[in-house]
């Protein structure tokens, strides 16, 4: 992506003309350049012609499955992909996320949510400033000294808790599937041991969240996994110092 360009370029791949028209309205009002494709193949051609900054991909395309489109485009590029799906397709969402999608939205969704997710994805791939300290609201993570501060007070994390936090920070604002997190932290043999993850998420939330029953940073994605929200709506905007 070209950081100097004012208007990020978003490609919408959806077979419903009405959804495409409304997404075009929403996105161009928010200052994006919008391109459209009605089929998976047309979308792939469009990407080959000119690579967009982000892709919004519907899972229910008539020609290629969303997972197939993702596999083919991931062979060439790592641009953020936001998938659209309907309720009850948890398995397909997980498959798409495992195939390289970055985030998902369930139809029907609000404009505000769509734009927030898209912004988060574009922010995530911004070339990182040489930094070793991250601030997320009241959380401060110092990579050099492996130190975590919550509202200025040091928080003691175990090695595994710290590794989990690092994984979330690396993939902040991205929906991570249970399988991916378990594989990264405990190895391929632990992909199905979701109780490890539940237990550690509980510990991490207890140490880092203000209210265990209304988490701000570590959000659960039903039947899918977790997401680390780098700029929760109720806290001060995050910064990368």
């Amino acid at each position: 992506m070209n950081p100097d360009r004012a208007k990020p370029d978003v490609l919408v791949i959806d077979d419903e003309p009405q959804i495409r028209r409304l997404l075009r309205l929403t996105l161009s009002d928010a200052g994006y350049t919008v391109r459209e494709a009605a089929t998976g193949q047309a979308g792939l051609d469009e990407i080959a012609r000119h690579s967009p900054d982000a892709i919004i991909l519907d899972l229910g395309l008539p020609d290629l499955s969303g997972v197939e489109v993702l596999k083919r485009l991931r062979e060439k590029s790592a641009m953020p992909v936001l998938i659209l799906s309907v309720l009850g397709q948890e398995d397909r969402k997980v498959a798409a996320l495992d195939a390289g999608a970055d985030d998902y939205l369930t139809k029907p969704f609000g404009d505000g949510e769509l734009l927030a997710r898209l912004r988060a994805q574009l922010r995530r791939i911004k070339p990182a400033v040489a930094t070793n300290t991250f601030c997320f609201g009241a959380l401060e993570v110092d990579l050099t000294h492996r130190r975590v501060l919550k509202a200025g007070r040091p928080v003691k994390l175990t090695a595994m808790e710290y590794a989990l936090l690092m994984l979330f920070i690396t993939h902040r604002d991205k929906a991570l599937t249970h399988r991916l997190i378990l594989r990264e932290l405990w190895g391929p043999h632990a992909e199905r041991q979701t109780h490890y993850l539940r237990t550690y998420m509980l510990r991490l939330r207890r140490k880092l969240e203000d209210d265990l029953d209304a988490p701000q940073f570590f959000q659960t994605e039903s039947g899918i996994g977790y997401r680390f929200v780098s700029a929760p709506p109720n806290s001060a905007p995050s910064s990368e110092a």
Binding site: R198, T199, M201, L202, D213, T220, G223
Partner: protein, 361 residues
């Protein structure tokens, strides 16, 4: 007309409507009449037997199970006493007549009982058919009402949006948003109920954390719970348990939505959880008016709604709650709290997970 009425009108028994004392009088009178005819008309005792049999069968067509039995037994005794030789005695002279009487008794008993049974089944079927027809009509009425109302709002609001006064746009947008939310909820419920009834629901059991489930469910109904006090009573050390997180979140969301819908805005919603006797429980309660007496015994039937249920909804929420919980091997109960308000509790079996590799050291 509410669907609850339809259900309460399903047949309670198979006995016909005649009061038993009057029916008994009819039975006795009929047997007495045949006996009188037997005395007046010069007929052989076998022929009179046939008339008794005919009468018992005719009576069986219009009385219940026990009275048909009484008619059969009474006819056997009367026939034997009054006509089978020697007359005016229960004693039987010829062995052949014992056989005739035996055959008669068996025929009368079996025929009368079979006829009563067939009639009852027929009546039951007719009543069920009427009830299901009525249920279908009610369902069609309420579904079309629930679908058409928000669509009407959308149509009218968008027309006004196109050519109306700009100042009214915010108001119209609010209406459109409310209508779409209502449609979304209805479609979700209809799809869930269809998934349940078609047997397409395959719960995906995995380790669940009650804190997490409740937080996600609350987030999903945040709009409906806005401005309402939500009291949480969750111990910090709740154990993990096996369940389908996506289904359970919807169960809890439906229960919270119900509490918000059926209580005045100043009432609170209380969510509690705990582990007891090998089970985990999650309770959603409120301090509103409680469940109406007509439905408190079983509020989980589909299309069941309280008599004063507000508009919106067709009575699928709780049916889905039970379907989803039972599909995961759990149980859900409903009751009114002694101190007031409705209280729903979901129970799921508690199995301790294998040890989690520790790195505290």
């Amino acid at each position: 007309m509410s669907a609850a009425n339809v259900i309460s009108q399903t047949p309670a028994g198979v006995e016909p409507g005649t009061p038993p004392v009057r029916a008994l009088a009819v039975v006795v009178a009929a047997i007495a009449a045949v006996t009188l005819v037997g005395y007046v008309v010069p007929l052989g005792f076998e022929a009179i037997g046939y008339i008794y049999l005919f009468t018992v069968i005719a009576l069986s067509l219009c009385v219940g199970h026990w009275l048909a039995l009484v008619a059969a037994v009474l006819s056997v005794l009367t026939w034997d006493y009054a006509f089978v030789p020697p007359r005016l005695s229960f004693f039987i002279l010829h062995f052949d007549d014992v056989l005739v009487l035996g055959t008669y008794s068996i025929t009368a008993l079996v025929a009368s009982q079979l006829i009563v049974r067939i009639r009852a089944l027929q009546r039951e079927r007719e009543q069920l058919l009427t009830a299901s027809e009525r249920l279908h009509r009610t369902l069609l009425d309420s579904v079309s009402h629930e679908l058409k109302t928000p669509l009407a709002v959308l149509q009218s609001a968008t027309a006004k949006l196109a050519d109306g006064d700009p100042a009214r746009r915010i108001l119209l947008a609010t209406e459109i948003r409310a209508a779409t939310l209502r449609l979304d909820q209805l479609v979700t419920n209809l799809l869930d109920q269809t998934r349940l009834e078609s047997g397409a629901l395959r719960p995906h059991l995995d380790w669940c954390d009650a804190h997490d489930l409740i937080a996600v469910a609350r987030r999903s109904v945040a709009e409906a719970l806005e401005g309402r006090e939500v009291r949480l009573d969750l111990p910090a050390d709740l154990p993990l348990f096996r369940g389908d997180a996506a289904l359970l979140e919807q169960v809890l969301a439906n229960l919270m939505l119900n509490a918000a819908r059926h209580t005045p805005p100043e009432c609170f919603v209380r969510v509690a959880a705990g582990a007891a006797r090998g089970r985990i429980f999650i309770t959603v309660a409120d301090n509103g008016p409680g469940l109406p007496p007509e439905i408190v015994a079983d509020p989980f039937q589909r299309f069941r709604r309280g008599p004063d249920a507000c508009t919106g909804g067709i009575g699928l929420g709780l049916s889905i709650v039970r379907g989803f919980v039972v599909a995961q091997g759990g149980e859900v109960t409903a009751a009114n709290n002694p101190e007031g308000g409705a209280c729903f509790t979901v129970y799921l079996p508690l199995i301790s997970p294998a040890r989690v590799p520790d790195d505290e050291s």
